[in-house]
Symmetry: D2
Subunit: 338 residues, 4 copies
């Protein structure tokens, strides 16, 4: 079957290569899935570049954590799924109801745990979930990492988001746009930031209540306080660009939370001093577990949410897809359709 | 000024009488409010009938807890409000952030605490809140008791409602319809019950995802399990008609909650045995505090929710308004406009 | 090997019989445990009497959920345990971090799921936990059902117990005495009730702060309010004797919780009306999951808690042990040592 | 009456001066308290040095937030207290059940809000609490700031501390030693750090389970992981010496919390990166509200906890008391007895 691999020891996007792999088989407790679509996240750039947690991959590794496909074979003892079900694998293996722990739970498409950029993939049945029926394959493919990270940041960490609260989303990346959908479905007010007037316009079309161009307003924490009549943001989804953490804390409402995501740029002021004045909290978010994924899927289904796709590539165009993500020109998810 | 009172010792709706009262004045820390609209709840029938908590009223009492009006005079030391603000009084006095306690906190329009069915009413500034600007006076008048009870039942008691969860609403009374609006705004799926096909049709128009006629399906707990593919309701708003509590518990999802509201009919099976099988919980709800009211108002404002008014009466038609509520023909709130 | 079974269809304690069974073997993912001690709970009387959930047992069944022993053989793929470890099986199978669900999770010693009253028992490694080192075998044997039920009732359901709060324990049965130990270790104040002055005296020796003889004070809810200067009990562990639930709710502090345990006697007033006045909650407790068990074990270890054993029987005396429990003369756990 | 003041604009301990002030009077809603003892916190050094929040004090200011005394006069309308009650003022004014907010709530002994280092002080009755009867005046005087900060850090912020969990206390300062008492009373395991073998020895006598000399073991985060068999600390009380935050996060258990206290030294690595790997959280703690204080007092009373006093000075020796605190030679609280 066709697949891509990151060559062992890779330290640049050139390590990403097309290949043929033997067809995998579903052992006991496993399912064989014919992949229909996969989606890219920033961490997927870091893996071939050799800068993800754990450094360069030790083996030739199929990349990507986010994929969706059809169950085409069942190993022994499977009751969770039947042939023809449309499923996604979970980002972490064997993380059903546990606190996600990147040390203890293998993550798809990193280290020596193969990902989903292949025509066929085997999952443990316990490590897969059915995806919402109203979504296209491409849309459903965006859920395991970007979608679940946004859900966890809003709904699970610390106080869950409540209708009527204010959510501040930093930038218009994959997690932010998923968080926009989820926060609006949950009845929250959303302020979103960007340095691009055009991207802010598009975010508004997707439901953002207020936008904020941080190029024009570098003191955006004060602007958030002003936009909320002195209340501040109840939740900040902090994707950690250039040292924004201290400013995010200053934008908080009393008792609010900052959900911290992604591989933070280490520069800039990260002093947590403001947390004391705000009685606030800072929560480390690393995707989530299967129960959270299932809960999110219910919210997506009930509210007919549709993750926003920017551009779709074919499997042959995988390298171009990575390049496009790297260019940061996208607005919405970058996906590969098989 | 014109007002209505329930005569001391009243045990029927005939105790409800039109009267003239001296104009009240705002003392230190108080505001004078010109009432624009008031709304009726079932408890407002119980008070003149002498069957509310504490028995017949000991003094001639202005009835009703739910009213909205304009601030027309400020006592000394008021910073929370200015002249012209549109406000509602809180159901409980001096219950800012505390656990509501009907023994410790006086409730408007019951016992010896005057209510709002008068042209002018004085509130402690601490016991009033600004109401959402997009609501009509009549709509805003429905919030202090029915609205807040629904909010507390869904959002504050036990685990707060989460987007994607299933809410079961028993009947189409005032609290249920407010809960319908709030639950949909929070991204939940709503199942609503009634014995009237027509009311169910109207509930569907207001956003209910599924309806259930308990006249046709007396085993409605089993039907809820079926409608949710065996999951059950994550939240039941239990308004306590004729001994429905045990059935509500059987309709619960594992770990779900029943929020218990109103003066329960004591007949029927109320054995909490099922709670153990469901790892469920039962929460007593008695309106709520001011912080909850303020949070609810944010959710109503952000999501442009509009409480549903069935019929509006003039102050002179107050007795007819009570009679109409008593007839149970209404669908939506019964209000009195001043 | 030697064991006891409840004969299929048994409806009295006479169904309990000594037998010889083939030695079990540990399959993949399983451990073989040489049982050292087992403990009895009231539910263990209900099973041979045919009145437990699901009715009479459909097969000859080894009884009892609570046992401790030594790992004497390891199946394939076991990393959780090594030979010689001292372990207990969990009450529910495959209930690691999930909400306990007696419909979905098989419970040891009931239905067709064999229990622990045998010389050797096989557990899935995932369904066993190491027990605190400072406990005797008999003490450790009391943890899986009675101990964990008490822990769940206090620490997991609803608001977790906080140091300085007041816990009301109804009676001096197995769960109540475990709850006494745990509540005191957590810094709470404990009021315990009994109809026996002697048992109250012993409870005081075990750490109870206040005692209450409900034979002398049938209005014990009022006495609890008095003993707590009008505050009430923050937590009631309600073991459901004869219709005590309504009274437990009246003994609650504002915002307090009643944790409901065991197969309730259905008689008496169970109207949840008081919950509304108290803003209280009622939580159904059915033992707990493995994560809770592990957390409890840490608390037991750190605080050197020792479950209180009343009397120990040999395997041959099993029928006498059941009879002794049935007589309700015990104070502390009844155990069988192998 | 005799008192001390910090002179307006003071920027050193020399601004602290003995003075005579007019006897205050209790207005409506207020109580007059004859101060018996006051306690010093590090923030009390920062105020006369002009480096506390808000800079140098704008007026001659009575210092100290922590004091206890006897109610000797009642203003109009007081029902919370009677003459002779022993009370402490709350750190924040008008912060009953609210989230503490140093911007909105005046704090005793800073800015222009007078503190308690005077023979007589007036409090709003709402801003005072009765103190546990078994404590000496000096012991009770330590509760409003240091005690409540420790309580909030352990019991209120994020997940409340649970019996059996592990608490890591950094250093043996006032908050750490209060936290030691509270954590042990709540059934937790405590690891405490210091650079002084002698102080560690004394902490052990006060109940610490494990000690850790960070002079000997600079990689103390790894040592905490080792001491807890790889589990880590469920709670770290982070008093923010020299850039210890990042290390505290590395010492966390999965899902654990760091409670952040005091005016942090800004140097050192404060990158919150580790929070993501730990699914951990960081909570800003600024003393607490009155409800928390009352809850803490119940825990102190039930468990007969006694805050540890290092040395007591007379009012005349106030400057020496400040100097002694500044020398950091103390172990336990420094108090002034009147």
């Amino acid at each position: 079957m066709k697949a891509f691999v990151i060559k062992a020891g890779s330290s640049s996007l050139e390590g990403l290569q097309s290949t043929d792999l033997p067809m995998p088989e579903a052992g006991p407790g496993q399912i064989l899935v014919k992949i229909k679509a996969a989606a890219l996240n920033y961490r997927d750039l870091a893996v071939p570049m050799g800068v993800y947690i754990g450094g360069p991959v030790p083996v030739d590794l199929v990349p990507l954590s986010d994929g969706v496909g059809e169950v085409v074979a069942l190993g022994e003892g499977i009751s969770r799924f039947k042939l023809g079900d449309r499923v996604a694998g979970t980002f972490f293996r064997q993380c059903i109801n546990e606190i996600p722990n990147p040390t203890a739970h293998a993550a798809l498409g990193a280290g020596s745990t193969p990902g989903v950029l292949a025509e066929y993939v085997v999952f443990n049945a316990d490590d897969a979930v059915a995806v919402p029926a109203h979504l296209s394959d491409a849309q459903a493919a965006t859920l395991p990492c970007a979608g679940l990270t946004a859900w966890n940041a809003l709904m699970e960490a610390g106080h869950p988001l409540q209708a009527g609260q204010t959510v501040l989303l930093l930038g218009t990346g994959g997690v932010s746009l998923q968080a926009l959908l989820l926060a609006k479905a949950a009845g929250a007010q959303v302020i979103i930031t960007s340095s691009s007037a055009e991207k802010l316009e598009r975010a508004k079309e997707l439901g953002a209540d207020m936008t904020l161009n941080y190029k024009d307003i570098p003191e955006w924490d004060q602007e958030v306080m002003r936009l909320t009549a002195g209340h501040g943001a109840d939740v900040v989804v902090e994707v950690g660009g250039a040292g924004t953490v201290a400013r995010s804390m200053r934008a908080l409402a009393q008792g609010g939370k900052v959900s911290l995501i992604g591989v933070l740029t280490r520069e800039g002021d990260t002093s947590p001093h403001t947390l004391m004045l705000k009685a606030g909290s800072l929560h480390g978010i690393f995707v989530g577990n299967r129960r959270m994924f299932e809960n999110m899927n219910k919210a997506i289904t009930i509210n007919k949410l549709e993750p926003f796709i920017d551009k779709s590539f074919s499997l042959d165009e995988t390298v171009a897809a990575y390049g496009y993500l790297h260019s940061q020109k996208h607005f919405g998810k970058v996906v590969i359709s098989l």
